[in-house]
């Protein structure tokens, strides 16, 4: 029987709004679980362009993944360390080409944890995506090989997300024919893969991947919602993975997907007090990440832990 760590790898999530002139960003909401030190230092926080993680995203308008935290790259480094946070992913959201919001996810990487968060991007003159950054505790061998693998459009999880331009979910990645690093995933105990496209208008900037294990899950539930009408009203559940088994309704997190689509921004949620989400492996929080293509919301990926 696989022992699951009491705390999964995902520790906290935040949403930041970027000023219209792109000069600064302010934190508008966050869920911190047991990360009290982070909660206390984050309320009302505002960062100038270039300052800290979100400031760097605002200045460069690209996603950034930190596989270790220091005072320069992460403005609340001491509080993060006190909360057991070792890595962070910041995903920009562009609305009609303008950076409007940044979603930040923070991860634990304590001894014994196994999982990976990866950022796949392109190289000049190549037709493939390669691994730009990875936070991969407990996966030294898998991560070492991943640096040398490149995926063209339509191949592997990064290539499939690139091709479809929507969040994508692969279950059983240790045996999946679509997950081309399956042998390494199986050896490492990775079970579920999620890909999310980072788009700016009609272009793909990067593909963010979450590779989750049963030992220390990055997520317990993931939902992919697609909208043919380009708005919240048209959202339909396309795929779901529920490792928590705590939701009776298949559309349990639909409200958050709808809110993300309506407000055209990432939405974090805290369901630690909600009876509906209670179970042996209960969900406590999550984030809904919309995909905007020009003025349309084409999809929302909901990740809950």
């Amino acid at each position: 029987m696989t022992m699951t760590q009491a705390n999964g790898m995902t520790a906290a999530a935040e949403v930041w709004a970027v000023d219209a002139d792109g000069g600064a960003a302010r934190r508008i909401e966050g869920v911190y679980g047991s990360c009290e030190a982070l909660r206390l230092t984050s309320d009302g926080l505002r960062l100038e362009a270039g300052q800290g993680l979100v400031g760097a995203v605002a200045a460069r308008e690209v996603p950034i993944l930190l596989d270790e935290l220091d005072d320069e790259s992460f403005e609340r480094c001491e509080a993060a360390r006190a909360s057991g946070v070792d890595g962070a992913l910041a995903l920009p959201l562009f609305d009609e080409g303008r950076l409007t919001h940044v979603a930040v996810l923070m991860f634990r990487g304590a001894a014994g944890m196994v999982g990976a968060v990866e950022l796949w991007t392109g190289r000049r003159g190549r037709f493939e995506l390669g691994l730009a950054e990875a936070f991969a505790p407990g996966l030294d061998r898998f991560a070492a090989l991943s640096q040398h693998v490149n995926f063209p459009m339509g191949s592997g999880l990064p290539g499939l997300v690139w091709q479809s331009s929507r969040p994508m979910l692969l279950k059983g990645i240790g045996t999946s024919v679509k997950f081309l690093r399956s042998t390494g995933a199986e050896t490492a105990g990775l079970t579920t893969g999620i890909g999310y496209p980072v788009r700016k208008g009609n272009e793909l900037q990067a593909v963010a991947l979450w590779l989750s294990s049963a030992v220390s899950p990055l997520l317990k539930r993931h939902e992919v919602w697609l909208s043919e009408t380009g708005d919240a009203a048209g959202l339909q559940l396309a795929d779901v993975a529920d490792e928590a088994g705590s939701l009776e309704r298949a559309d349990g997190l639909k409200g958050y997907a709808e809110r993300a689509a309506q407000e055209r921004r990432p939405v974090v949620f805290d369901v630690s007090d909600a009876q509906a989400f209670r179970g042996a492996n209960e969900i406590v929080a999550g984030v809904a990440l919309p995909v905007l293509v020009h003025d349309r919301v084409t999809a929302v990926g909901v990740i809950a832990w």
């Binding site: 037709f127 063209p152 191949s155 024919v177």
Partner: protein, 298 residues
């Protein structure tokens, strides 16, 4: 060293089909090669590896798409692209020297007779045939004949060297010997090279990057593996490298996934679906310069 010295863009090879749509053997093959890079191409038998290579060589008509070498779209064969096939195809009535001289005369039309002789002798010596250059093919072993074929190709001073399973008919010791001969030449000459092989160890040992092809029909690039070993390479050091077996395993995994005999029905169906238009990444990684990735048709 130019990043996009060879560019293969949306390459398609289709053959007429009397009972339906043309059969697209290769469909949407996209790849770029840096100047001086050695690219291994691996895939199952019949997947279209040699079709791609012969189209790059200009020996096989391209249905659609482009092959660009050093900024010029290719249009038929030329001395800028030399090919070595599995069988060296030497002219039996000529010595090794005479076989190599054939190409040298074409590429060095203004050289003197003495200069041409020196060039031929230089390249035959480079492949270890200094003492056998006046022998006829029937007097040479298979490995020695292939050395003549290699000398004949590199004596053309090509921009691109195309090797189509060049060691496929040789025993393993001769094969290893010739791998080192070619790598020794390429380390010096920095010729941009594409080598087709079925041998995963050969691919890892020889290549800077390995292009893994999906099964045909509609074959395309399925995955690309960077080989991080420095050049010049020493076989023992490569075999003992921490990553060697993981890289090798990555190739084997890919080939197993595309093994028709083991392939699940869903995978076969997925392979039969229409492939996307190519998307060339034409800017740097996001760290500093935003990545622009044109999604054609999006």
């Amino acid at each position: 060293m130019r990043d996009r010295y060879v560019e293969i863009v949306n390459l398609v090879k289709a053959y007429p089909n009397p009972v339906g749509e043309p059969i697209r053997v290769v469909d949407g093959f996209n790849f770029s090669i840096r100047e001086g890079e050695i690219i291994g191409v691996i895939g199952h038998s019949g997947c279209g590896k040699s079709t791609v290579l012969t189209m790059v060589a200009g020996l096989n008509d391209i249905t659609s798409g482009d092959v660009v070498v050093d900024g010029k779209v290719i249009d038929g064969p030329g001395p800028d692209r030399a090919v070595v096939f599995q069988s060296p195809c030497l002219l039996p009535w000529m010595t090794a020297f005479g076989n190599v001289m054939l190409g040298v005369k074409r590429v060095y039309p203004h050289a003197t007779r003495v200069q041409r002789k020196e060039i031929v002798e230089h390249y035959l010596a480079l492949v270890g045939l200094a003492d056998a250059m006046h022998k006829y093919p029937r007097e040479l072993s298979g490995g020695m004949q292939q050395r003549v074929g290699i000398a004949r190709a590199i004596a053309l001073k090509p921009k691109v060297l195309l090797l189509d399973e060049p060691f496929g008919r040789l025993d393993s010791l001769t094969r290893m010997d010739l791998q080192d001969v070619i790598l020794g030449i390429l380390n010096e000459s920095k010729i941009t090279t594409m080598v087709i092989t079925h041998d995963v160890d050969e691919a890892v040992y020889m290549s800077d990057r390995i292009c893994m092809m999906t099964n045909g029909p509609r074959a395309r690039v399925g995955q690309v593996l960077n080989i991080p070993f420095e050049r010049p390479r020493e076989r023992r050091a490569v075999l003992e490298h921490d990553l060697y077996y993981d890289l090798r395993g990555c190739l084997v995994d890919f080939l197993e996934k595309f093994d028709k005999h083991k392939q699940p029905k869903a995978q076969v169906e997925a392979a039969d679906t229409e492939q996307p238009a190519p998307a060339l990444l034409d800017a740097d990684t996001p760290y500093g310069v935003p990545l622009t990735l044109a999604e054609i048709g999006a």
